[in-house]
């Protein structure tokens, strides 16, 4: 079962195990410069608000109501990272516009063993973008669906789905209980571009942004560990923040700071080290995508604002037993 609680998606499988719970939330963050330099992990700037799609169907495309799921607001060119919480192991597939963020392949509901098209929680505490190379991702950046920037449009030629898609598979009970018997498992713990005024809601998708040092870990539990008969899905529709109040009646979130302003304020970035886990190699399909900055140049659009290089000087190290600082305020 899937609940929405305090802007978190909470996946539960009580019929499987009382501890089979996994939470996913979406964190506001800095958009790192899209300049082919590698950056450390940016901070959290708080959770994105989420609403049930079915509570706000008037004024939304009818297919959004068919999808069900939830709504989330993002400004054009705003970035996002996905935060995973919970101690019970899950295999989780993430796609944007139905393009798998780990492999670049088209969405399927089932898990694929090779190449591994899912990530494993709690070993993977978060996902900031598309897995383009071993140890490198390109940041998730929101762009209007239909302008040619999103991973979906670049790979399929179509602007059909947008948003984010998630499916989770819990570990089989027998595997979990065997694991718990002898082991302890880790516990983890106002960018506003002018947009066209549109009468219809502005559908957003995610596109590849700047490069960030982040590893997506191999499944060390083994494919047989996952209960393929138990799964739960969610379609996360992304709506332009400027329309959030019109559609939901809720206040529009403030715009996030630029990477330059944040860094000049002396605030920390992060590195995460887990030398016990093996990272995936990355997807050549995803590596071949144009980043937002590159696409902007190719399309002859004005260069991106707030894309100056930064040199983070304060970088906090995190390991498997620490948690990324969240709710950084400034």
């Amino acid at each position: 079962m899937l609940e929405l609680k305090q802007d978190k998606l909470v996946f539960r499988f009580p019929e499987l195990h009382k501890h089979a719970v996994c939470s996913i939330d979406f964190q506001r963050t800095l958009r790192i410069p899209d300049d082919n330099r590698e950056y450390p992990l940016p901070p959290s700037l708080g959770r994105f608000p989420i609403e049930h799609t079915e509570d706000h169907t008037s004024g939304l495309p009818s297919r959004w109501a068919e999808h069900g799921g939830v709504l989330l607001p993002m400004y054009q060119s705003e970035a996002l990272w996905i935060n995973f919480s919970g101690g019970y192991p899950f295999a989780i597939k993430i796609a944007t516009g139905k393009i798998n963020a780990v492999t670049g392949k088209q969405w399927t509901n089932h898990l694929v063993k090779k190449p591994q098209d899912y990530l494993v929680v709690p070993d993977q505490p978060w996902l900031d973008g598309y897995c383009v190379q071993k140890g490198l991702i390109r940041q998730f950046v929101a762009m209007p669906l239909g302008d040619g920037y999103t991973a979906e449009e670049q790979l399929t030629g179509k602007a059909e789905h947008g948003g984010l898609q998630i499916v989770v598979y819990p570990m089989k009970r027998v595997h979990y209980e065997a694991m718990m018997k002898g082991q302890s498992h880790r516990n983890h713990e106002d960018l506003c571009f002018s947009v066209h005024e549109m009468s219809a809601p502005s559908e957003m998708g995610l596109a590849p942004g700047g490069l960030m040092r982040q590893e997506i870990y191999e499944d060390e539990y083994g494919f047989d560990a996952w209960d393929l008969d138990a799964s739960s899905r969610c379609f996360v529709h992304i709506l332009n923040s400027n329309q959030w109040n019109n559609v939901t009646g809720k206040p529009i979130p403030g715009s996030p700071p630029s990477a330059v302003d944040y860094t000049e304020a002396g605030l920390p970035w992060f590195e995460f080290y887990d030398d016990k886990s093996n990272p995936l190699q990355g997807s050549t399909k995803l590596a071949g995508l144009d980043s937002v900055a590159a696409k902007t140049l190719k399309l002859g659009e004005k260069p991106m604002k707030n894309n100056e290089a930064v040199t983070p000087t304060k970088i906090n190290s995190l390991g498997p037993n620490t948690a990324k600082v969240i709710d950084g305020k400034w």
Partner: protein, 117 residues
């Protein structure tokens, strides 16, 4: 149900064994009440404090705010507001669920719909 004061004292003292910052004086300082006042609450000399102070205590001691309020014989103003907005609906629901086992109550949740995609 254990008295409110006894409960918070027990929790605080247990925490203090491993962490000296949970002394009466320090906890009182963090929740912005006089130590003498907190001491009287813990000894049940004074009745439980206001909702605001109870929630600060819950946060400090790692306790659930709603449970601690209930121990003090209170319902949060937030929950009161929820009920008052649709009193008949919630009154009927609560009466119906009054004797239901825990697992049945837990199933009364709002699920996120998964449709066709």
């Amino acid at each position: 149900m254990k008295a409110f004061g006894d409960h918070i004292r027990q929790v605080r003292e247990t925490l203090r064994k491993d962490n000296k910052t949970f002394s009466l004086r320090q906890v009182a300082g963090r929740i912005k009440v006089e130590p003498a006042y907190l001491s009287k609450i813990e000894r049940n000399v004074f009745p439980p404090p206001s909702e605001e102070v109870i929630l600060k205590l819950a946060n400090e001691l790692g306790l659930d705010g709603d449970v601690l309020l209930a121990m003090a014989g209170k319902l949060s103003s937030e929950l009161q507001q929820v009920i008052l907005e649709r009193p008949k609906l919630f009154a009927d629901l609560l009466r119906e669920m009054k004797s239901a086992p825990d697992h049945a109550i837990l199933r009364v949740v709002r699920e996120v719909k998964d449709g066709k995609w």
